[in-house]
């Protein structure tokens, strides 16, 4: 379990301070990359896969994180006891809950939810930030945009 204090230590950091494999192009999207370095998710496609760096890689793809969760659902259906989980934001049409799959569309984003706060990587600010779930739900404009929870992958 990661703590709020550990996450707070990374506030304001660019991805270059988190990734020692050199996968740090600011034109790339680093939301899943940030989450995976924080929670040590080394499965699937990683920063090491992309850059060939010397250190253990962290997953870089939102749809792969979603598929590895130990349970997913609409945010409104999140069990109250689930105080730490992944939180995804995308158009609900991109999410296939029964299959536990998410389309690899451009507008999808992920963060770490812990006791009411969400830490995520702002690609426009190129740094780690923290927001409320309500703020996170407005990450993308549009009527179909919704939040989804994911029980942390083992």
């Amino acid at each position: 379990m990661i703590t709020a204090a550990q996450l707070d230590q990374n506030l304001g950091n660019p991805i270059s301070k988190l990734c020692t494999n050199g996968y740090t192009d600011p034109n790339d999207n680093h939301c899943a990359h940030f989450v995976s370095h924080m929670l040590d998710y080394q499965f699937g496609t990683t920063c090491k896969t992309m850059s060939g760096g010397p250190n253990p890689g962290a997953n870089i793809r939102v749809q792969e994180l979603f598929a590895h969760c130990n349970g997913v659902g609409a945010w409104s259906a999140r069990p109250s006891a689930l105080v730490q989980c992944l939180v995804f934001v995308t158009d609900s049409g991109n999410v296939h809950l029964k299959l536990r799959k998410m389309d690899n569309v451009p507008k999808k984003h992920v963060g770490i939810f812990l006791n009411g706060t969400i830490w995520h990587y702002s690609n426009s600010k190129s740094q780690v930030v923290k927001v409320t779930p309500k703020e996170f739900s407005h990450h993308y404009p549009g009527p179909g945009i919704a939040l989804f929870y994911g029980v942390l992958p083992a």
Binding site: D25, C31, M50, K101
Partner: protein
């Protein structure tokens, strides 16, 4: 003895390497080479299996088409990076590493997806087995 064997090899590698630098594919040629790889399946490729924009995507043609149509007008900046750099392939033969990336930036809607593949200098053919799907987020 080894030195005698290696010297000509090194010389040959040097010639191949400089030839690779001289004949570097242009961005247009890189795109043309990519089009010849459209039938390569996504399934079974570690980096491509989950990279299609639709769950029904089956090959590189589907994958590339899916990202091309996301380069929409009037919503931030879109561009395509296509380049080649001299590099040896997995078989150590001289050639080029080609990279094509489709990119978009509009505030937090920021992404880059594409492919890399190796092209042999000897016949200017792309190596199907070398294709990788690039991108994250």
């Amino acid at each position: 003895m080894l030195g005698i064997v290696h010297a000509p090899c090194l010389a040959a590698q040097g010639r191949a390497s400089s030839a690779a630098s001289r004949n570097l594919p242009s961005p247009q040629e890189v795109m043309r080479l990519l089009m010849t790889l459209q039938d390569v399946p996504l399934k079974g490729n570690e980096t491509c299996a989950t990279a299609g924009t639709s769950l029904s995507d089956t090959d590189i043609g589907d994958y590339i088409s899916g990202w091309l149509v996301e380069l929409k007008p009037g919503q931030g900046a879109n561009w395509i990076d296509a380049k080649a750099t001299p590099a040896a392939g997995d078989d150590k033969q001289a050639g080029w590493k080609c990279v094509v990336m489709f990119r978009h930036v509009n505030g937090d809607d920021r992404w880059g997806w594409g492919v890399s593949f190796h092209v042999r200098a000897s016949d200017h053919k792309p190596v199907k087995e070398s294709i990788r799907c690039l991108g994250g987020g």
